[in-house]
């Protein structure tokens, strides 16, 4: 990475992180001030304590999520059927996740950590803000361009911008679409640890946007 590009990424990282931290900090600061204002009101005091505690826990979780991407992993390298894994994943999504099957071959032999693949797909699909983005849906499909197996996760019915590569490894860059904002970032580093790649889905003017996982 060139130094100017690195500087830009670091600047974006700090900006995003600062933005995410400022919301809980505002709540903490506000309730601390409210605590002084309404010290005679037990219900208000109790709520202020609770809110401050919740926001501190939230900051802690946020930091844990950021570290989670770099948690030491020992990927298991074994052969597995990626097509079958994908079908299992599709049937395991909870209600509210509007995921449909695209083209999935009968079998697709792959090598690597099957559990890591399940984790990556779950982060990208389940972490999506399905409640907030009510018109959205996604399609999971497989293909083998150039002889390498890929899984495409394609979102539609939502005003998602063209996703760029840095957005995977910049936490909170896709916060508008993801519940915690760290899901694609975490998925990116897990894939990296497994020797896989995640790239933006080439859409060629297609309004659908998404991710391609290269196995």
């Amino acid at each position: 990475m060139k130094s100017d590009e690195a500087a830009r990424v670091i600047e974006s990282l700090i900006r995003n992180l600062s933005h995410e931290l400022k919301n809980p900090l505002t709540t903490i600061k506000g309730y601390a001030q409210l605590l002084a204002l309404k010290s005679g009101d037990p219900a208000s005091v109790e709520k202020s304590h609770r809110m401050i505690q919740d926001q501190v826990d939230r900051i802690d979780r946020m930091l844990q999520d950021l570290y989670a991407a770099f948690a030491p992993r020992k990927p298991v390298s074994a052969g597995f059927d990626a097509a079958e894994t994908l079908r299992e994943l599709l049937s395991s999504f909870p209600e509210g996740v509007r995921a449909a099957a695209g083209h999935i071959p009968d079998t697709c032999p792959a090598a690597g950590d099957r559990g890591a693949l399940v984790e990556i797909v779950n982060l990208i699909v389940r972490g999506f803000d399905w409640g907030g983005l009510s018109g959205a849906g996604c399609t999971l499909g497989m293909s083998e361009p150039g002889g390498r197996a890929v899984i495409d996760i394609c979102f539609e019915g939502v005003d998602m911008p063209e996703i760029s590569e840095p957005e995977f490894y910049l936490p909170f860059a896709l916060k508008k679409y993801y519940l915690k904002g760290t899901e694609p970032y975490e998925a990116f580093f897990i894939a990296l640890a497994c020797g896989w790649d995640i790239t933006p889905l080439k859409t060629d003017g297609d309004p659908r946007k998404g991710f391609r996982i290269w196995l």
């Binding site: 919301n23 900090l25 505002t26 709540t27 506000g30 309730y31 907030g132």
Partner: protein, 488 residues
């Protein structure tokens, strides 16, 4: 800071929504949304006066919400809250009409100050709006005194053209209420929420009238120390009333005509064309057609101004309205002076049949004076004739000043038994002084003259006021009410 105002908090952060609800619920009616695309609908449905808006919102960004509020001219004071320190976003927000911009984590005290300022602004706006409404209410056609056929015809004509941009020319004697009709044209029209301004062309020197009408730039002429916005510009989208238009110089008439034709002008000393949409109402107590014939008024301007002519009849030609005016002024001045004075039947009849050369303004002055001077609750015919006598003296004197050249010996020979005007004035002064216990200031106020004029008259008629014990006491408490001794 307790208020009935409604606040909408738009933030996708549950913690912030909770915080602002808890903080503000004692002072405001607080409502919250977590998405940008629901803000506009909620604002339209509920009509919140204040919006606290986060910029990073799902569905529609805060800036896009702000843009829509700005474009739709929605009446809501917006406080932007954001986690971003980006100065450009702050500038954009303010350009889009945001009231203030707070960066998270903001101080709740600071937010409360911002909201307090907004509440004060809203209170002021409400007050102005109510006052404007009240002011306008007084000038509704139905509230203007005039049940006579002449006045009803005027109202009917004006109602037909009220929402057009037509110029209106009001012709009428002095004191017939030309300005009230001009205000009625404004406050009954769809321009009523915009300014009404008036200029009396007879009282402003001709060399200043251009600046009054069109304004001037700094340094346009000696004394132009700062930019001045003219009445034309202030009254844009509203109404400009030019009273006594016949006094406008030929040069200024040409300028006025140009503005009426082009709807644009330049400030004096300026070179920027200013577009205006000002309705013009003019008035004159002189016959403008005659002035046109005498080449003292531009014919083209006359026809521009005379699109809707209104002839206000003198009061003597609409006697049906006189009892209404009497009651109106009795109510007005009894309220103002804390009195309960009324007129007996003979007094009313006399006033109704009087010629009223000074029209409604004169009638108003007479009623005001009767209430001030009256020592009893009912004003008699004698009181009325006494006040009118004094009125006539004043009017005759004014007329003499205007029409007659000064003469070497102003005291004419009069027949025996016939009082001169000066004798009547002296008697009236003495009577009034007695009535007000020889208090010069109070008597002068009641007679609507200055203390200086009062002293001059006392000197002229050699009226000596002797101090009484009560007056000495009053003089001590009233800060030295000077008694009059001729020659001092």
């Amino acid at each position: 800071m307790e208020s009935n105002y409604r606040i909408l908090v738009a933030d996708d952060e549950q913690g912030i929504r909770d915080l602002l609800s808890d903080l503000l619920k004692d002072y405001f009616d607080v409502d919250t949304v977590d998405r940008g695309d629901t803000v506009l609908d909620r604002l339209k449905k509920v009509g919140h006066e204040i919006l606290i808006l986060d910029l990073r919102l799902p569905g529609m960004s805060g800036l896009d919400v702000l843009k829509r509020i700005y474009e739709d001219k929605m009446k809501v004071a917006v406080v932007v809250i954001t986690a971003s320190n980006d100065i450009e976003t702050a500038i954009t927000s303010m350009k889009l009409g945001a009231y203030d911009y707070l960066v998270k984590p903001f101080d709740t005290d600071k937010l409360m100050v911002v909201l307090k300022n907004i509440v004060e602004k809203l209170e002021l706006e409400n007050e102005v709006s109510q006052l404007r409404e009240q002011l306008g209410e007084g000038f509704r056609f139905k509230n203007i005194i005039g049940k006579s056929p002449g006045m009803q015809k005027i109202f009917s004509t004006l109602e037909k053209v009220i929402d057009t941009d037509s110029t209106v020319l009001i012709i009428g004697e002095s004191g017939t209420g030309k300005e009230i009709i001009a205000k009625a044209v404004h406050y009954n029209s769809n321009r009523k929420q915009y300014p009404f301004r008036s200029i009396d062309c007879s009282t402003i020197p001709q060399d200043l009238i251009g600046s009054e009408l069109f304004g001037h730039e700094k340094g346009a002429f000696t004394g132009a120390i700062s930019r001045k916005i003219g009445k034309f510009e202030i009254a844009s989208r509203g109404t400009l009333f030019l009273d006594e238009i016949s006094n406008l110089s030929i040069d200024m008439q040409a300028k006025l005509l140009r503005v009426l034709q082009e709807k644009e002008f330049e400030r004096i000393g300026g070179n920027q064309l200013i577009k205006v949409n000002t309705r013009i109402v003019t008035a004159s107590n002189r016959d403008l057609r005659e002035m046109v014939r005498e080449n003292r008024f531009r014919e083209d301007l006359y026809y521009r101004l005379n699109v809707v002519p209104v002839y206000l009849p003198p009061l003597k030609d609409r006697r049906e309205d006189i009892p209404l005016f009497i009651d109106h002024f009795l109510e007005k001045y009894n309220g103002e002076f804390g009195r309960e004075v009324n007129l007996d039947l003979k007094a009313r009849l006399y006033l109704t049949n009087y010629s009223w050369p000074g029209n409604v303004r004169q009638l108003e002055n007479v009623i005001k004076r009767l209430i001030l001077l009256s020592t009893q609750k009912t004003v008699s015919l004698e009181d009325v004739t006494s006040v009118l006598e004094f009125e006539e003296i004043g009017m005759a004197a004014k007329k003499r000043e205007v029409t007659a050249p000064p003469v070497a010996n102003p005291r004419p020979q009069v027949s025996e038994g016939v009082k001169t005007i000066e004798e009547i004035e002296k008697e009236h002064l003495e009577r009034m002084l007695r009535h007000f216990n020889y208090n010069i200031s109070t008597t002068a106020r009641a007679l609507d003259i200055s203390r200086k004029t009062m002293h001059n008259k006392l000197k002229k008629y050699n009226i000596v006021i002797k101090r009484t014990a009560a007056m000495e006491e009053n003089a001590g408490t009233a800060g030295g009410e000077a008694d009059h001794q001729p020659g001092h």
